[in-house]
Every structure is written in structure tokens, then in C-alpha cells.
Amino acid sequence: MASTCMAQTTGTVTAGVNLPLVALLDIEPVGGITLAFTAPSEAGAILGSSATDNTKWINVSSAVSSGLTRRITARISSTLPSGFQLRVQAANASTGAGTRGTSSGAVLLTNVDQTIVNGIAGAYTLSGSGNGYNLTYSLSIQSYSLLKSGTSTVTVVYTLQDN
């Protein structure tokens, strides 16, 4: 009897969550690096082929809309001393999770943004030194004839931007 006469009524609650865009990048550890050439001890010897450093890491947090990807670009914001070339290479990130993109390999830095990692989507690398994309800087001599002794400060700017 009951089944043939069963009645029902409903009530509704709306629930949901908004997941926002996230685009965060920083360099760890803080502070600068020094790329130095040592003077030759023998007259006629070369200054040195290059100077390198791989102590810096890029940490990234990225949340994107479906289908969107991002890239990390690098550029020199000041003037590189004449006669030198500065390259940077970001290793692929192995920490964190998500779509962390692919390294572009060693990139010659200029005053124009150069892509060093591409194809980042929803991802995080974990925070701190030793996490994310390990940077290897390489300073090389382009032209001996343009070299001048002294110390110069160069700033490299990294940007996480949408494709």
C-alpha cells in the first residue's frame, strides 16, 4: 500500500568553490652570485674559457585555466660588460607536482625576454633552494679585444608569463 502511495519532497543547497589564477615565481636562495675569471699566472696564457654557477633555483606555483600554459623567460635588465656573453640554463624540475614544462636548454641572455622553460600548466615545484628549476649561469668571453678589468653588476629578470 505504502509504495503505491509514496510521496516525496526536496530541498536544495548550492555549494561550490572558485579556484583562482596563481602565478608565483621566485629565486632561491636570495642574494647574488659571482662569476669571476682568474688572471693567468703565465704571460701569454688565456684568461679562462668560462665561469659558471649553479647555486640558484627557480620556484614556481602556477594555476591556469584549462588549456592554458605558461613559460619562464629571462633577460638582462642592465648592460653586460663588453666582450662577455652570459648564458643561463634551467634544468627540468623534478620536485613538486603537475605540468612543470620543459627546459629550453642553454640560452644566451640579452635585453629581450628569452624562454628558458616552456609548457608550464597547473604545477608547483616546492619552495626553497634545491627545489624547482636549477639554474646554471655561464659567463664566457666573446671578444678579448673588448675586455676591460673591473667589476660589473648585472641583473637578470625572470618572468612567469602566459603563452
Partner: protein, 177 residues
Amino acid sequence: MLKIVIVIFVLLGCWKSSMAQSLSVTGTTWLPTVSTVTEAGNDYSTSTLTSATNQSLLSVTMPNAFFILVLTNNHYTVQIKSINSGASWSAAGLKIYAKRTGNGSGGGFSLLGVSDISGGNAAFQELTSSDTYFFEGNNYGTTPRTDIPIQFQITGISILAPVANYSTSIIFTLIDD
């Protein structure tokens, strides 16, 4: 005589069930805010968002009993489901759950018993698009059981999920059974 008795009880049953049992909900919107990622390299600090324990309050009113039925219990079942809209919850790894966190009050009584409520309070129950048993109870007379507190939970919050608004309608269905 037997036929008359059967007809009376059939009519009684149908009349009882056709009365306006009702389920009302207060606190009809839950839109939590995710934490802000302040340090590059990190995910959200928590992957689970949990509402207040009394985010929604349900009230159940059963049909008026008739004659001798005023003394007997009127059993009901509440089912629950969620109907998602917009961005895909499953593709984002998001899930929504509900739990009954209290008994509310009221529901009536008679010489034969006192109202009760059970089920749905042991653990968070994942909601799907199909009606699923949530809890049940017995009311007496027309006294409603009011302010049955319901808590919700969303899991899978991560910056790995596509940026979007995720929305769902949680539907409670009262069955006079």
C-alpha cells in the same frame, strides 16, 4: 466486511501519504574561499575545505496521522545527491561530501514511542549524481523535526586543478516510507 476493512486501510494509507509532508532547508549556499598561495613553489595550504557543522539546517514535517495512526510512528528517509554544473569536478579531482552532525529537535511522541533519527552521522558521505540514502527517522503526529544540522566538505583543492568556478546543487529528497 474484510473488503471494507481493506478499502479503509488503503484509503487511509493514501490519504496519509498524500498529505503535505515537507522538507525545508535553511543555509542554502556554501561557497568557501581557498587559501592564498603566498610563497612560490607551494600548493594551497589545505586540500580540504570544510563548512560549519551547521552549514545547512533541515526540517522534516510528516503528514498528519489519522485516527489510531496518531499513536504510531511515521517513518521517513532522506536521500541526498549532487548535480554539478559548469567546470568538471571529476576532471579537477574535486569531491563533495556531507554529514549529519546532530539530531535537531522535535519530531513528536505518543503513548507508543518517541521520535528518533539515525544514519548519516558516522562519517562524511561522498555525494554522487544519484539519490543515495543519507539518514532516516520517525516522527509522531505533525510535529516537525527541526534544525537537523548538515556539514559539507570539498576535497581535492589544488593549484593542479584547472582554474574555474566549480558549482553543484545538493538535493535532499524526503521520502515518506
